[in-house]
Symmetry: C2
Subunit: 395 residues, 2 copies
């Protein structure tokens, strides 16, 4: 027999707890202005409405809300989600909706079904850090797809398919994490066509789609998915609250069935209580008005961050101007080292995430990710000033 | 590119949704008396106390309870669990406690860390169905350890280790699922010694330990674990309510660290809201009194089922007499086919789980698992009568 450490040594090669979460621990002190986290604004959580919903659920159906439930999820919530997703232009039936512990679990479940060690996954470059982690646990190989200011470049994909035979493409087409970039409609259509032609599975992760504060809505890639090659994942983390850990995936019947088996083996089902609380909240409150409140706050925070950056940052820095979501992405001069900048920033009581870890194949040292959803206007202004001062003194 | 079905065909070989859960769907009609589920008694859930706890949490710390939280779990709840587990005779520090989505997720996380396809896992024979599923998803090979009325036989293990080089032993030593059998103290000590000598990792799953209605407490195997070779898992599913999906594992630092990485990649963390509600409930109510209420109800239900079985069952049937937990295990005549009996039982409006699926290597056709926690006394009496009548007419 080997010791536990020998046993998992090969499995855990290169794995480490998320840099973001380690930084978050340091920057939890209130005197540090943190643009590092991916947190929504807690002062906008519908606390009183959730409180009323929880009370009603326990008063009206306490035993059911506290008992084991179906692995698929709470049936009325699945119906609600199917209808809501139809409103986004996605043909979805309640029977295709699987409730998960946040959309993070969709990555885990799909990885378990499709990935063997060494299998290739296509991703944007950079891409979501925790997707890298989820697929890395399964020893996937990451194949970055060339990306510009309009998102993934579909024309690059056929050659990557031929060369790497990827198990799927993972993409966040709307207000991407970390860049804030949105894939244009024309490319979405092309991607859906490519997926059908090459039988390429697409995992479309859309946590931020409802957070558009500017510009016209674009339907999800799944809108154009005639061939059933797209899994569409989203979450209540940004529209209600992340602490409830409620996400979902819409999947064609055959894949749904496999996801369900793996979900059941993973944790039986998602919290019955949280699902019922969310359902009661959604059906008894004006969700559109609440979303409008979030959108307008985030839009104002982005504008303020953008303005302050323009006023304060030295030459050589540029950044994205997303029409929604929670992040903007700064490109510094080629010689900038974001990892080296971070401890200096923390000394000046401001924090961000260095871009490096978002690049699954390395590189990306001169990028910074800034979150604007989780800071008040005063702190955005002051934090950007501190960061810009540091960048000027480093230049 | 292959189609999705080709891609997961090899992975999902032999996987199917739990028979138990499929049966549960059929037997949800109230006219069927179901001894099939593994459900606690919902009428004993502390609904009003949870309602008060939820209200207090949202009133006093709403934004925190609805925000993202640490992957390790809510710190005060980890402290509470460490203290409670110390009361069971287990040396545990809060830093060793990882909060999971029920103890089912402990199986998933440990499987991900330790198992590669084809790796061997030692288990009781029969063992917990959803453990078979969790490890089967990872294509583990099951090696049953000979078991008698006192649980696993430790003397059989060294040879199995030499022959199969298992990655770990998975065991439910107290009021086992499905048999209700409890491993005697002497064998627990021997197992801990074996684990140290052979560097065998043990996953000790203890969901039912607090449900003892008769006999003297026996400390967990982990009590004798000097070498740090035992992971100790438990849950609030049976002591508060399963719908909250709150479990935990106590793990030595090095393994804890790996579990944490995999937990984070799986779903970031367990519901902040549910964790805080559980903590508020636990610290503001008389938990000992509540447990006493559950224990005495389950003890009375077991007694009634046992008495009715003795009065009604034909010769050739015997069953276990557990001192706690939720299940008893019937051994029928060798020619009994539990799977064939089930549809006939459902016709007579009574349900159980055929034993077969609990045997990871097949066999076990003449066993039935009966749950007594989830039925009222009247229904236990009537359900056992119906089952016994069927068994008599089949004989």
């Amino acid at each position: 027999m080997s010791s536990p450490s020998d046993l998992f040594a090969h499995r855990m090669r290169g794995m480490r707890p998320s840099t973001i979460r380690e930084i978050l621990k340091i920057t939890a002190q209130p005197e540090i202005i943190s643009f590092a986290g991916g947190l929504p604004a807690p002062e906008l959580f519908p606390v009183e409405a959730v409180r009323a919903a929880a009370d009603r659920v326990l008063r009206d159906s306490g035993p059911e809300a506290l008992q084991y439930g179906p692995s698929e999820g709470f049936a009325p919530l699945r119906e609600w989600i199917a209808a809501e997703v139809q409103g986004r232009g996605v043909r979805a039936q309640a029977s295709e909706v699987l409730i998960t512990n946040g959309s993070q679990q969709v990555l885990d479940l799909t990885g378990k079904i499709f990935l063997d060690p060494g299998d290739a996954v296509l991703t944007e470059n950079p891409t979501y850090l925790a997707a890298i982690q989820a697929f890395q646990t399964l020893e996937a190989k990451f194949v970055p797809v060339p990306t510009d200011e309009h998102g993934l470049i579909p024309e690059a994909i056929p050659e990557l398919i031929a060369q790497h035979r990827p198990k799927f493409l993972y993409t966040i087409p709307t207000f991407q994490n970390p860049t804030g970039i949105t894939l244009i409609a024309e490319r979405r259509q092309k991607l859906a066509r490519l997926a059908a032609e090459h039988r390429l599975l697409i995992i479309e992760d859309d946590p931020y789609g409802k957070l558009r504060y500017r510009g016209a809505e674009i339907p999800p890639i799944k809108h154009w998915d005639e061939a059933g090659q797209v899994l569409y994942a989203s979450t209540f983390s940004k529209t209600i609250a992340p602490g409830l850990r409620l996400g979902w995936v819409v999947a064609p019947a055959e894949i749904f069935h496999q996801l369900l088996i793996v979900k059941q083996a993973s944790d039986l089902h998602t919290s019955s209580f949280d699902q019922r609380v969310a359902y009661a909240y959604l059906t008894q409150n004006d969700q559109a008005a609440h979303l409008e409140k979030i959108r307008s706050a985030y839009g104002a925070r982005f504008d303020l961050m953008d303005e302050t950056l323009r006023a304060e940052m030295p030459p050589g820095f540029r950044w994205t101007r997303p029409e929604g979501g929670m992040f903007l992405w700064i490109t510094g001069p080629a010689e900038l080292d974001g990892m080296a900048l971070l401890p200096k920033a923390v000394e000046k009581k401001v924090a961000f995430v260095p871009g490096r870890d978002f690049f699954p194949s390395g590189g990306g040292t001169n990028f910074l990710r800034l979150n604007y959803s989780n800071s008040t206007p005063e702190r955005i202004r002051e934090g950007v000033r501190r960061l810009a001062e540091l960048c000027r003194s480093e230049g």
